[in-house]
């Protein structure tokens, strides 16, 4: 983690998340206009897309930490990679659920196998879900850390594939809101989207830091127990 980011204390990050989340919800329901085409159900966009982008960010962060582990081997990089991928899977599951609700509302179906964006995201989600099977099927130690790091790095290739799939395959079902001409929405909608994204990234950061603190405390207590017994 860059030094400046690490200097932000957990309480500051947590209160920023609360502030950003409150502002985001107020903007979604009281400021952003109701979409003329989709109506009220378009408001799912403000939670679904930032959650999906947050899960990409978490998987990317996990892969970056895995790369750092293989390259420089700093202590704790393996644990940081694990915590980031865990957050990514949580946000990935939420992406699939909120996406299904939006699909049902807009297209009348919960899921379609014909949309490349949906299928590639599901593959990405399942790939990183299997990371935990690998991690918990190997004894803790350097070998497990190396295997998990290599696996996490392989998965990161799926992120641009998932992101670009609708742009490359002319997907007519899943809408493309961001294209080469910028965001295809009103300024007020884009502002609301940006605040929602900031709120969710701050939430992921808070969850990541809390999980890491818990894991580190757990491992120190284990060491202490070994010393005392």
């Amino acid at each position: 983690m860059p030094t400046r980011l690490r200097q932000i204390t957990l309480p500051v990050l947590a209160w920023s998340t609360v502030g950003l989340f409150g502002t985001a919800l107020a903007l979604v329901f009281f400021y952003a206009p109701v979409d003329g085409d989709q109506g009220l159900s378009q408001k799912i966009f403000y939670i679904h897309v930032p959650i999906a982008l947050t899960s990409y960010a978490c998987f990317g962060w996990g892969a970056a930490k895995a790369f750092l582990h293989l390259w420089k081997r700093p202590p704790g990089a393996d644990l940081e990679s694990y915590a980031a991928i865990h957050q990514g899977v949580i946000f990935g599951a939420l992406t699939l659920v909120t996406g299904s609700i939006w699909a049902r509302s807009s297209w009348g179906i919960w899921w379609t196998w014909s949309s490349n964006q949906l299928v590639t995201f599901l593959i990405l989600f399942l790939f990183y879900s299997a990371y935990f099977m690998l991690r918990y099927s190997v004894e803790p130690g350097p070998a497990r850390a190396n295997m998990c790091a290599v696996y996490a790095l392989f998965g990161v290739v799926l992120i641009p594939v998932s992101w670009l799939s609708i742009r490359l395959a002319n997907d007519f079902i899943h809408p493309t809101v961001f294209n080469q001409h910028g965001p295809q929405m009103a300024g007020s909608m884009f502002l609301t989207f940006c605040v929602c994204l900031a709120g969710l990234l701050a939430l992921a950061g808070t969850m990541y830091r809390i999980e890491l603190a818990g894991k580190r405390l757990d491992s120190r207590l284990r060491e202490l127990r070994e010393l005392l017994t």
Binding site: I44, I47, W102, S105, L203, E211, R225
Partner: protein, 50 residues
């Protein structure tokens, strides 16, 4: 409540419930760590007395 309102409420509620579940899991983990720490303090105290 219209159909659109129901779907919007469901999507935001899912996120809220997931967040609550995560908080509950972390609270349970913290309680376990607190118990472990108390146990270790007791163990260290007994060691000191010996």
């Amino acid at each position: 409540m219209t159909s659109g309102e129901k779907y919007v409420a469901a999507a935001y509620l899912v996120v809220f419930v997931a967040l609550l579940a995560w908080v509950a899991i972390i609270a349970a983990k913290l309680a376990r760590l607190s118990r472990d720490a108390e146990e270790l303090v007791e163990l260290a105290r007994r060691r000191g007395e010996e």
